[in-house]
């Protein structure tokens, strides 16, 4: 079995955390929580961190077996497969959203016209290629791109510092904690990505002091993302809800634009490496789960099935980001939140079950 190093696993986790938090989440949450959005985002980040810790504990306790084996051992094959089906849906919706978000980003920021097929075919081919090649190829690529992506995020955020106005956020909790909780609930579709890490159970080579380094690096990333969100709210104030792609539009008022050019866009383009690679991670996990459910040895068929489902769902949503956002708010939010809740319960259950057995 192919295994990945602790460092590679950490980077995958960072990319999973980063992927759905770059563009639409910040303006979307603002629509629910208003100027208390940063608190909603902070609570959301805490949820991600808590899930991350939970997942790592489970993985550390079951180093030698895969997630499917663990589920089979604990609940039997049929229930294990049913549980995996839920996870499949959870990841599929996230993958679909990521593809759509990236497409809309390119369409709005970089091109006047961007034929759909010109986007869909190459991106599905590339992500499919990575998924077929396997986890070590994805992990190594992430290892290479991680530093550029993180630098890209920092550049994007830092160019907007001059335009930030802290007063936009004051006073805190003017309407009580209600809006913050509304914002927290609304963003549940974007949260819970660390659950996907369970698919890597039994494939990671844990090293000494891994836990501390892993949690710390992910915590720093979450802080960085919160910092970016904070800057976004401080730059845009009440008009934040009308912005579509937070990170890309963050340096819009950058006074250096005319002198230096919109190099910040280049940074954003670099950031999209993270989105594509995370899509590959999603696709890999979908293929893995598909293999477990269908009892297959090779990944090609599950990858084909997953890509077909992504295309069908995208067609249903007419490849439209606003339509998809509407679906998130009305349907997908519930689906993902339910799966997340189920898996959190399941994780606790697995830990308790193990303790009792011991």
């Amino acid at each position: 079995m192919k295994v990945i190093s602790s460092l590679q696993f950490t980077f995958i986790s960072i990319f999973l955390l980063l992927s759905t938090k770059v563009f639409t989440i910040t303006p979307y949450v603002f629509g629910y929580a208003g100027k208390d959005s940063i608190w909603s985002m902070s609570f959301g980040a805490l949820i991600d961190l808590a899930i991350l810790v939970l997942v790592i504990v489970i993985m550390q306790k079951n180093k030698e077996i895969t997630f499917f084996e663990l589920l089979k051992k604990s609940f039997g094959t049929i229930i294990a497969k049913i549980l995996l089906c839920f996870l499949f849906v959870f990841i599929l919706l996230k993958a679909l959203f990521l593809y759509q978000e990236t497409h809309s980003f390119f369409l709005q920021i970089l091109f006047d016209e961007f034929p759909l097929l010109l986007y869909v075919i190459p991106v599905l081919f590339i992500t499919g290629y990575f998924a077929v090649k396997g986890i070590d190829t994805i992990a190594r690529s992430i290892e290479i791109f991680a530093i550029f992506v993180l630098i890209g995020v920092i550049i994007c955020a830092s160019t907007a510092v001059n335009d930030a106005n802290f007063n936009y956020l004051l006073p805190f909790f003017e309407d009580g904690i209600g809006p913050s909780l509304d914002g927290l609930w609304a963003q549940m579709f974007y949260r819970g990505n660390p659950i996907i890490l369970l698919c890597f159970m039994g494939k990671v080579e844990f090293k000494k002091h891994f836990n501390v380094k892993f949690i710390l690096s992910n915590f720093i990333l979450l802080l960085m993302l919160l910092g970016t969100a904070l800057l976004f709210y401080m730059v845009y104030g009440p008009s934040a809800r009308y912005v579509e792609f937070a990170l890309a539009d963050l340096p819009q008022y950058d006074p250096f634009v005319s002198d230096l050019g919109r190099f910040n866009w280049l940074s954003v383009v670099v950031c999209t490496f993270a989105l594509f690679l995370t899509s590959s991670v999603f696709l890999y996990c979908l293929a893995l789960i598909g293999r477990w459910i269908l009892g297959l040895k090779r990944s090609i068929i599950p990858i084909g099935i997953s890509l077909t489902m992504v295309i069908i769902l995208a067609l249903i949503n007419q490849f439209s980001l606003p339509l998809m956002m509407e679906r998130i708010a009305n349907e997908w939010l519930w689906i993902n939140a339910s799966v997340l809740f189920l898996y959190v319960l399941l994780s606790f259950g697995l830990l308790i079950f193990r303790r009792k057995n011991e």
Binding site: L7, I126, F145, G261
Partner: protein
Amino acid sequence: MLTKSLQENIKQLKKLYHDSDDLKTREFVSFSSIKTAIAYIDGSVDKPFLISGVVEPLQKAEEIQKRDIAKFAMEKIVAYAQAKTETDIHTIISNMSNGFCVVLFDNCETAICVDSTKWTVRLPSEPPTSAVINGPREGFVEDLTTNVSLIRKRLKNPDTIFEKLEIGRYTKTQIRLCYIRGIVCPEIVKKIRKKLEAIDIDGIVDSSYLTAFLEDRKHSLFKMVGTAEKPDIITAKVLEGRVAIIVDGSPIVLTLPFLIIEDFQNSNDYYGVSAKATFLRWLRLVGTLIAIILPGSYVAIMQYHYSIVPIKLLISIANSIQGIPLSPFLEILFVIFLFEILYEASLRMPRYLGLALSVVGALILGDTAVKAGLVSPPAVMIIALTGVMSYTVPEQTGQISCLRLIFTFLGGIFGFYGILLGSMFLIGYLVSIENYGAAYLAPLAPHFHNDQKDAFNKKPITAQITRPTSFPNVNNRRLRK
């Protein structure tokens, strides 16, 4: 097998060589009365040695009554030369082809094969592609023995093995696998040996012939086998646990396993200040990346994303491209085509003419094309710049040229989106390559912390306590403090 008749044996040799003109035979009398003959391939033997070391002592030898003259002659008369007795005619032929002289006696079924090799070889000199400011200047030559001795001079430990192989039905090319027992991973040696032994080809003309057989990915754009022209480089690589493959007739020695990082390392880096080596390695990396991506990015920016360019620069570019009939994409393709033509022609032209042509090509053609309004100055500048940058890593120039063209197409068709996907695919492809137990992009991906000391950040030799771990070896300790 040899017969007792001298004439018959000579006839056999001539027949097997099809009366080839370079097969020389000379008969004389040795031990006062025994009819003797020597046979050799003209041009492959040291004639003065043959006369003074073989013919004259045999002629002067006194009459004897021994039954096995050949054995006696080898032990007593030509004892100081490297010699062996042979009875099989095909082995004798094989020895002769490798520069041995054969001594045949009448009434004797055994011949003496005397090593009198002296091929026409050039002296070791500094290879034109691996010039150094500091450090050794010796380079490999086309002679296997010389090349082996150049390595042996530096690796005196008896654990240094030179394993003999012969490939080529017609060329019978001598190959040596060089490695250090106790450092190299035996599995790697075994795999290389197996691949080489499986080769059944009419001839191996140069070491580059072997690379195709040693590569796991035969159609890859990227080279999978390392090459070096200097014994100091090969010594360093063998000391790291690699296997060197020396081919007779080639000054290029192959090394395995090969990692792409090796092409960014230069022997000069090891003979100078580490900080400078670090700077130069990063420069090579940046140069390579720019050489690959810049033309494509220029096309993408000019065709799709011009708002990225600062306004003043944009005005300046807009002025310079005004009136150009071609789109930025076609313009860049046209200049790349011109550049590649000039490059190819200057390589094939006689040396001085080639030099003149490249200057004329660059100055006159470029200038005229700009003045004629066929191409814009930015396009010429970008291709000239990337052309020069592609030589920062000379071993990868061919690959860089291909990738530059591919990325130009991607930039022209898909804009930055294409470049992004192209970069991702390229990295994905490179990281997926496994070469003799080593990841091709190691120690970058997967990250090997220990090997970073000699990756893009070069640390002094005192800090490199262990051998690289990016590829397998059995003895990791390099420096004892």
